[in-house]
Amino acid sequence: MAIEARIPTILRNYTDGAKSVEGSGQTLGELFVDLDRRHEGLRARLVGEDGSLQRFVNVYLNDEDVRFLGGAETPLSDGDVITILPAVAGG
């Protein structure tokens, strides 16, 4: 089950500069565990010890904020696109 994860500039030191990497998992939390196998250290920047998202990290599943979907428990399907972005100001 392939899921594309888009990585922000600030975290590409974990992906050898790659803008996007592939991984698998039934849930977002599982995807992060899978990504961390090949990109060690990435997961710790995204979630805390309890598995919940870090405060200044926003993750979108097909453009929808996962905090409103189920957080780390959000179910994933083949072909989904995950976008990771740091929280920035608008206005």
Binding site: I10, R55, F56, Y60, E64, D65, L85, P86, A89, G91
Partner: protein
Amino acid sequence: MVRYDSLLASLGHTPMIGLPNLSPSADVRLWAKLEDRNPTGSIKDRPAIAMVARAEAAGELTPGCTVLEPTSGNTGISLAMVCKLKGYKLICVMPENTSIERRQLLEMYGAQIRTSPAAGGSNEAVAVAKRLAAENPDWVMLYQYGNPANAQSHYDTTGPEILADLPTVTHFVGGLGTTGTLMGVGRFLRDNVPGVKIIAAEPRYGELVYGLRNIDEGFIPELYDASVLDSRFSVGPAEAVRRTRQLVDDEGIFAGISTGAILHAAMAQADKAVKAGERADIAFVVCDAGWKYLSTGAYAGTLDEASAKLEGQLWA
């Protein structure tokens, strides 16, 4: 009654316009609230006027004071007009990657602009403004990201106007920047319309704007309360430009680019309602008109060319 004693008194009471061509059916309808019909042409007139009034009432703003604000444009333009009329000096901290029209309008109203670096977007503007405020304790920073009068202005005016014009409202879709519109309108509608859905559309900029040195430098406005929202969507420049043009083509409404992002999220809610066989009256905000963004190239050429030109710019 459309006569007012002054420009400031004409704030709000903006039209709610049906979109017969973009609405999927008679049961699922889209409604645009034209916030460009405000004194300086944007929704930000509401929080700007409210924040100044609150600071005056609290005795923080007195004649001759200098007002300071981090802004990517519209709030600064609104404040510049209010400060001009009331005799305050205004200093705006604005990221360098904002459209030339916004700068020209600020200068026309007599505001002083301090430029913050493009990398980091509005985060940097906020950081620079906070530093300036600490160095100049006599300046008054209204701080739209954390000033309760921002959200309250929408609770007191935008929200009630929407409900009065559209008592059957089922969804409200707004843009997420300071979060003031969504927090204020969202709370008002939740207090008055059982089951209403509050949807946020957040602009997704080019990589430069997310160019923080460290993820811990991220920024969440103090006003933000996630419990007011039902869902939040990230909308990139390609979809925003496409919907902005669709709004002109199908309904004749010439809106700014952030409105295209909001319309994109609103149309997704409309599709969802159609598929579920549910009735929906979806109100969304037209934040401003397109005039200030003509120089960005968003309205000319192919969609690909237009969205490529927005890369690296703060288009919302």
